[in-house]
């Protein structure tokens, strides 16, 4: 699925360049569940953004399904994000003015579906995450766990090949964390997704097939 070769990302700051990723070489096969751990500032989120076609590397390459992301124009990257990659964020990132169903529909807007198809698929996705009764609720009317379920439904409604989750349980209590992880694991198994989770939480990381540790921009395998 993913092939990373000599991937380097540097940010220019007033104090000089900071190396977030340092010649990372990595392969992630299709259908694998990977947890990425590491200290704050170690480069976890930057790596996730590279995998999600949100950021371009300073040097090196990222290949997804045989296509090199770093060489693509922005419009093609947007298309890949729209069809192939699903995102789940720590802060849920739902649009506060839209209902749960409309939030899920936003992920289908770039696909050019008809209104009725969009609604049907959004409802089905919300029912799958257990929120069939909350279609017309706004984010402010939902609990943190429910909001994250809406975010997961939004990520999965387009049937992506990859699901990237950045601290998906970071804002949740333990019980809700476990519920969300069970949901993600279930979807991963059922949908055959490649699931990559960035987390500080060892309990979450232990659920993954493979654990990577990222420190000072360098990746090591964690047994």
């Amino acid at each position: 699925m993913y092939e990373l070769s000599e991937l380097t990302k540097k940010y220019e700051t007033k104090r000089g360049p900071i190396s977030a990723l340092n010649k990372v070489t990595l392969s992630i096969p299709t259908g694998q569940m990977v947890a990425i751990q590491g200290p704050t500032g170690g480069g976890k989120s930057t790596l996730l953004q590279m995998l999600g076609a949100l950021e371009r590397p300073t040097s090196g390459t990222v290949t997804l399904g045989g296509e090199e992301l770093s060489a693509m124009p922005d419009s093609r990257l947007a298309e890949i994000r729209a069809r192939t990659i699903g995102f789940v964020f720590q802060g849920f990132n739902l649009i506060p003015t839209l209902t749960a169903q409309e939030n899920v529909e936003t992920a289908l807007a770039p696909l050019g579906l008809s209104n009725s198809d969009r609604r049907l698929r959004a409802r089905a996705a919300l029912e799958k995450v257990g929120l069939g009764e909350r279609l017309t609720h706004h984010p402010a009317e939902l609990s943190g766990g429910q909001q994250q379920r809406v975010a997961i439904a939004r990520a999965l409604v387009k049937e992506p090949k990859v699901l990237l989750a950045d601290e998906p349980t970071g804002n949740l209590d333990e019980q809700t964390r476990d519920e969300i992880m069970e949901l993600l694991e279930g979807l991963w198994r059922d949908e055959g997704l490649t699931l990559i989770i960035v987390t500080h939480d060892s309990a979450v990381a232990k659920r993954a097939e493979r654990r990577l540790y990222l420190k000072h921009g360098s990746v090591t395998e964690k047994k």
């Binding site: 949100l54 947007a78 729209a82 069809r83 699903g86 995102f87 990132n93 649009i95 003015t97 969009r118």
Partner: protein
């Protein structure tokens, strides 16, 4: 999705929508009212000008006086001079009754060769043209003490010396006389589609016919006919000749008087005033409004000594509170509109761009889940456009209410357009006998009127308002969209992490 998202955003961010829409509405309403008042003032000016220059006149050709002196073409006319011989008048009871009238082109006005009309008619893009001769008739009538003969046989007129109890008409040995002045316009009886008579309608009698071309017939302005107690069939002395009143006319505008007190055939006017082949104004109608400038230039080239003016130039000759209103609208109103409009646009732009800044995570998320830059920009621009449109609709409604209020109040503006006519009356008394006073005999207004300002509501004004609202929305949307487009999804998400 676009419509749902847009509706949700605007309805959930009511405060921002209300502020932008209110600012835009205020600006649009002000622009509408200022434009409307300007149109109303223009209409009022056109009414005043039409009463002087006629309907359909695009250009007038006159000749400015070149230097004092009589006789030479273009030279200003001097005042009329009345000369009486010793045997003139009827003498009875020690007084002599004298009467004389003179038809001239008026003090300070000038005439020029009628070939100018032929020149105008020969030009391309001239649909019609006609010439007039503006004149002033001054009548002197009164009684003076009969002259006394001195030892040397010389006569000293007007000395007012009393002998043997003889007295003048005032009973004190002096004299009394009236000087009556009215305006006379010589016009082409062929009835061209331009000229002063195009803005009048017949009240009584008949209009000129081709057979009247050199006849002593006159048509009166109804106001003048009323004040002079003249009706159709009466006679009126003009330039020492008797004229038959064949009709009376009034201005087609309820507010204005006609350009002249009396109208006579052009040939007759030239003959009686001893101004053969002379005219004072050529009225020109261009084939279309786009030809006016070209015709003006061509006329100026062909007639280098002439003063060639368009209706726009002539509007400056309108004075009074209408002129003040015009200036006010043209300067203060326009600048106020621009300032308020700029402020509304600025508020709209600032609120839109700050809204985009506030929604950084939202747009970053949308880009992360696959929205293209174009889709995000369309969303931002669409929201701004609708906010502008809401402001536009409210603004049009407020503007229409404002216009309605002004039309109901109908503020009265006085206006006058200067022409070549003169009016005046003088009386002198006393032993000197020479107290001929022409106090009002300088050039005065030919058409003075009070006009109730009425603002026309046109699709043009509403169209301008709607276009400005859309423009405001587009400008704000362009700024907001530009800012949203510059957001890189990773940076947008990182900035709020």
């Amino acid at each position: 999705m676009f419509g749902t998202y847009l509706y949700r955003e605007l309805s959930n961010r009511r405060k921002q929508t209300a502020i932008i829409a209110a600012g835009m509405a205020l600006a649009i309403a002000l622009v509408m009212i200022v434009n409307g008042v300007a149109a109303g003032v223009r209409d009022a000016q056109a009414t005043v000008l039409a009463s002087v220059y006629g309907v359909g006149t695009d250009i007038t050709v006159t000749q400015e006086p070149i230097q004092p002196g009589g006789g030479e073409e273009g030279a200003p006319q001097e005042g009329p001079r009345f000369e009486f011989g010793a045997e003139d008048g009827d003498t009875a009871n020690g007084t002599t009754a004298l009467s004389q009238s003179s038809l001239t082109s008026g003090i300070g006005s000038s005439t020029f060769d009628a070939d100018a009309l032929t020149t105008a008619l020969s030009l391309d893009s001239v649909a019609a043209a006609t010439a007039t001769l503006a004149l002033s008739n001054v009548s002197f009538s009164g009684e003076v003490a009969a002259p006394t003969t001195t030892d040397t046989g010389e006569t000293a007129p007007g000395e007012g010396t009393q002998q043997g109890g003889r007295g003048g008409p005032d009973g004190a040995g002096g004299s009394a006389f009236n000087v009556d002045t009215f305006t006379v316009t010589g016009i082409d009886v062929a009835g061209e589609s331009v000229g002063p008579l195009t803005s009048v309608e017949l009240v009584d009698g008949r209009a000129f016919e081709s057979s009247d071309s050199d006849a002593n017939v006159v048509i009166l302005d109804t106001s003048y006919a009323t004040t002079s107690s003249l009706t159709v069939g009466d006679s009126l002395e003009i330039g020492g000749e008797e004229f038959e009143v064949i009709g009376t006319v009034t201005s087609t505008s309820a507010d204005a008087t006609t350009a002249s007190n009396t109208y006579i055939p052009l040939d007759t006017a030239q003959r009686v005033a001893d101004l053969e082949n002379q005219i004072s104004t050529v009225y020109v109608q261009a084939a279309s409004s786009t030809d006016i400038a070209a015709v003006q230039t061509a006329l100026q080239t062909e007639l280098p000594d002439a003063s060639v003016k368009t209706q726009e130039d002539l509007a400056s000759s309108v004075s009074g509170s209408l002129s003040t209103a015009s200036d006010l609208v043209g300067k203060l109103g326009t600048w106020l509109s621009i300032i308020v409009l700029a402020a509304a646009f600025l508020i709209s732009v600032l609120l839109t761009t700050s809204g985009v800044a506030r929604r950084t995570r939202e747009f970053g998320t949308l880009k992360a889940i696959g929205w293209s830059n174009g889709a995000v920009v369309r969303q931002v621009a669409g929201e701004s456009l609708v906010q502008g449109a809401i402001g536009g609709v409210i603004g049009v409604a407020i503007g229409l209410l404002g216009i309605l209020a002004i039309n109901i109040a109908a503020p009265v503006l006085s206006a006058s357009a200067t022409a070549t006519a003169t009016t005046g009356q003088g009386a002198g008394a006393g032993g000197g006998g020479g107290g001929n006073r022409f106090g009002d005999a300088a050039t005065t207004a030919a058409a003075t009127t009070d006009i109730a300002l009425q603002i026309p509501v046109t699709f043009g004004i509403i169209g301008i308002a709607v276009a400005l609202a859309i423009l405001g929305g587009l400008i704000a949307g362009a700024f907001g969209g530009w800012r949203a487009a510059r957001l890189r999804p990773a940076e947008a998400l990182r900035s709020v992490a």
